[in-house]
Amino acid sequence: MTLREDAGVRIGIDLGTIHSLASVLMDGRAIIIPNPLGERLTPSAVSVDTQGRVLVGAAAKAREVTHPAETVCNFKRDMGTERTWTLGRETMRPESLSALVLSEIRQSVEEHLGQPVVEAVVTVPAYFGEDQRRATQAACEIAGLHVERIINEPTAAALAYGFGNPQSEARLVVLDLGGGTFDVSVLEVTDGIIEIIASAGDARLGGEDFVEVMMEQCRRRFLASDAIDLGAHEDLSAKLRAACERAKRGLTDARDAAVVVTGVGPAAATLTLEVNRDEVHQWWAPLIARMQTPVRQALKDAGWMRSAVDQVLLVGGATRMPIVSDFVASIFNKPGVRELPPDEAVAMGAAVQAALKADDAQVEDLVVTDIAPFSLGVNHTGEYGSHRVGGLFAAILERGTVLPASRSHVFTTLDDGQREVTFQVYQGEHALCEHNTKIGEYSVKGIPAAPAGEQPIEVRFSYDLNGLLEIETTVRSTGKTHVLVIDRSGRGMSKAEVERARAAMASLKFHPREALPNVAALERAEALFATITGEPRAMLGECIGAFRACLETQDGKLISQGRGRLLAIVDRFEHN
């Protein structure tokens, strides 16, 4: 044990599109911390009930089927955008929704371990840009979590692997296909040294896209066969989504599955569509084709041939799909390896990173070097004869540079007697600044008057592992230096906005935590009720009624008995 009782714990959090979870390093192992419901994964879902009280986690996820309008899932995909959702009377940004999930996780950890969380490491997809990282940082601040380090999910997975295989020496490719994102990282593990060499990804390709393609195809089939458009209503499409998700999971273990949508239309009809794996794999072929691009990009950046790869590590729940193993085999000519539980590897790696940051003795021999996922640079103007082309992107610190790193570039004045230069700082890979992400702006004044091009100005970028960018601009002739520090906190959302969001969160009414198991059980049962038919449905209805009656008695023992009975029934139906 290296935890100090008074110091609290340092945890790793995988803030996922579908699920979130926390892990802590204890006794030389990364342990997943279960939530109050005893589950290791907490769904990243937020919902409000009829009384305007906020629900987070399993209870909220179950309401996605029964109350799609009051429930938000998949908000991670909109991190860093201005999109808002209206939940009850509140209007929420993705940052606030993520903050709700984060603070739920923090509370679970603190209840489970009985110690405060002093620091957390949160993971993001490697392909998250600065905007999305800022938004994630803002979410942590709103949730009141002390987060200094945001690491890439594949890096975390590699850390978990390196931690578990300290002796190994291998060239790895980590494929992380999560609910909403696809990341590829190329890395080398040597004796506990983990070197990330390149990474690439697709920020909008994940398990959810596979479901969506399936939904669209099923919607068309149902439209043709039953003349019912399941996309017409939010309720129906929520049911179709749940049905497709189940079928997708079914296809992991079997060659055939059925998409069953119940309670359609006024007659509460049940629609069934048989699908088989080959057919569905054809639907998914375009998605699989999209997966090749980042793989190629990452290998190219690393300067590796495909044949140099020793092992392909699969991470993320969506890699369980057989089509993904086929894809891996076709690219790398070897089967992918699921050495760690695909849903948990990232959180485990984040816990390792948290321990690394705290100089924990358990990870003494582990060293990790990570890279800049994007190029950083400034705008400049090119002069070609008498033509001037503005808004060009000059990359100063290129993607793939091992961090922390400093790189510099020398610019000159453009006009005769120019006294001032304005630099705009961008992140991205496009040759034109307007296609990249702007992350800051500053001006250097007091340049001595001189003919154009005769005042060299050196711009030095220092980028560290916490995402802190220090820009040092020196006018060589005067030796005057201008320093600008851009860090993640408080950008995107301003400090005031974060404070406002925190205040808004504090004023939210939550379901009392002790009642959470009851609510979750009830919501799960009701969601199941909406999707099954016949005698089981009637039986389940009875049980739900009985449990509601138990709740009204407010007798703790009776309620816990009733809940157990209800969950046992739900479990049985869900698994049969």
């Binding site: 273990d253 193993s325 085999a329 060293v367 091992v402 592992l465 008995q561």
Partner: protein, 369 residues
């Protein structure tokens, strides 16, 4: 940084080969972690980059990517086996494994992979039917060693035992065996508990028997599982034949049968003999009553697993260290074999009581926390 400085910083002479450069870099990396010493790391990294700058970067020609796929038949075979295993088509996987093509498909370690595949399919085949299990066990006696760490690891990774525990077609002995195999980590332990609870839901006595079976070798795991099962009982009290929770001393009913019934029978015989007149009638009636009592005893529904479950329950309910409980169950079992079930049960309780009064022996193990 020039090359000379770079090599100096790495502690090498210029012209060292790529391997030496990498080794030197790694060695210094251990003491110059990017987290701890950013400036030192920047210098080290710069030196490494300068030293390796003349190494050619490889890039696969674009044509390679668009050309017909690289995948060989070997890989396809390997992937087919993976799929077959994932889908539970074990017979098929096994057939592929047996096929010589499999050895060809194993890229690095044919021996090891073959053994693993055999184990996996061997274990999984149990799912289907008992003859297969027996056949496999006969052919591969080494496959089914409960304490084999490799097997445990394999079961832990594949989570196959969870399927085994949940499937209703699997014979109870096999499930007991599987439960015995699984002592891996906390994650496996938790999901083992989940599987066990499901089994318990269907068939309480044999699930409890499996827990008791674990008690001897893995007291901490057994007591953890027992607590899980007990928690389930708390939630679902009205279903199933043994409400352990409501009966913290489950022996009461059985003890009544074993201890008091003979006494009542003897008392009844005495009363009858006192009120009856003829000595022959007296004897006959007395014998009859005794016979009825004995029959009642022999036909008592308490079977061994129930007895053990009850015994385990009472030990754990009294917060005894699982090791002590394990010792008692062993003793109780030996007695049962020697004396017959019901007597052993009662005797076991008495011995248990005595043992509790005796000196504390083994160090108390923290129960599965």
């Amino acid at each position: 940084m020039d090359r000379l400085t770079a090599f100096e910083l790495l502690g090498l002479s210029p012209g060292a080969d790529a391997k030496a450069i990498k080794r030197a870099y790694h060695k210094r990396l251990k003491t110059t972690k990017p987290d701890r010493d950013p400036e030192g790391f920047k210098r080290l990294r710069a030196a490494f980059e300068v030293a390796t700058s003349d190494a050619p970067a490889l890039e696969e020609p674009a044509a390679e990517w668009s050309s017909p796929r690289l995948t060989t038949q070997r890989t396809l075979n390997a992937v087919a086996v993976h799929h077959a295993l994932d889908e539970g088509r074990f017979a098929e996987a096994h057939a592929t494994v047996m096929d010589t093509r499999w050895a060809d498909a194993l890229l690095d370690d044919p021996g090891g992979a073959y053994a693993e595949a055999t184990r996996r399919t061997g274990i999984a085949t149990i799912l289907d039917h008992r003859p297969a299990y027996e056949a496999v066990a006969a052919v591969y006696p080494d496959v089914f060693r409960p304490n084999d760490p490799e097997l445990q690891l394999l079961l832990g990774i594949s989570r196959e035992w969870q399927r085994l525990l949940q499937a209703s077609s699997v014979p109870p002995e096999v499930r007991a065996f599987v439960a015995k195999c699984v002592i891996v980590d906390e994650a496996s332990r938790l999901s083992l508990a989940r599987g066990l609870v499901r089994w318990y839901w269907r068939d309480r006595p044999s699930a409890m028997a499996a827990v008791v079976g674990l008690l001897e070798d893995y007291p901490a795991v057994a007591s953890f599982l027992y607590q899980q099962v007990r928690a389930f009982d708390e939630y679902v009290p009205s279903t199933g034949p043994i409400p352990l929770q409501r009966q913290p001393t489950p022996s009461a009913r059985i003890r009544f049968a074993t201890l008091w019934t003979p006494l009542i029978v003897v008392a009844a015989a005495l009363v009858i003999s006192a009120i009856s007149s003829g000595p022959i009638v007296d004897r006959i009636v007395g014998a009859l009553v005794l016979a009825v009592g004995l029959l009642f005893l022999l036909g008592h529904p308490a079977n061994s697993s129930q007895v053990h479950a009850g015994y385990l329950a009472s030990c754990l309910a009294h917060d005894e260290p699982p090791e002590v409980a394990a010792r008692r169950v062993r003793l109780c079992r030996r007695l049962r074999r020697a004396l017959g079930e019901n007597i052993a049960l009662d005797f076991g309780f008495r011995v248990g009581r005595l043992a509790r009064l005796g000196p504390a022996s083994a160090p108390v193990e923290d129960a599965a926390r």
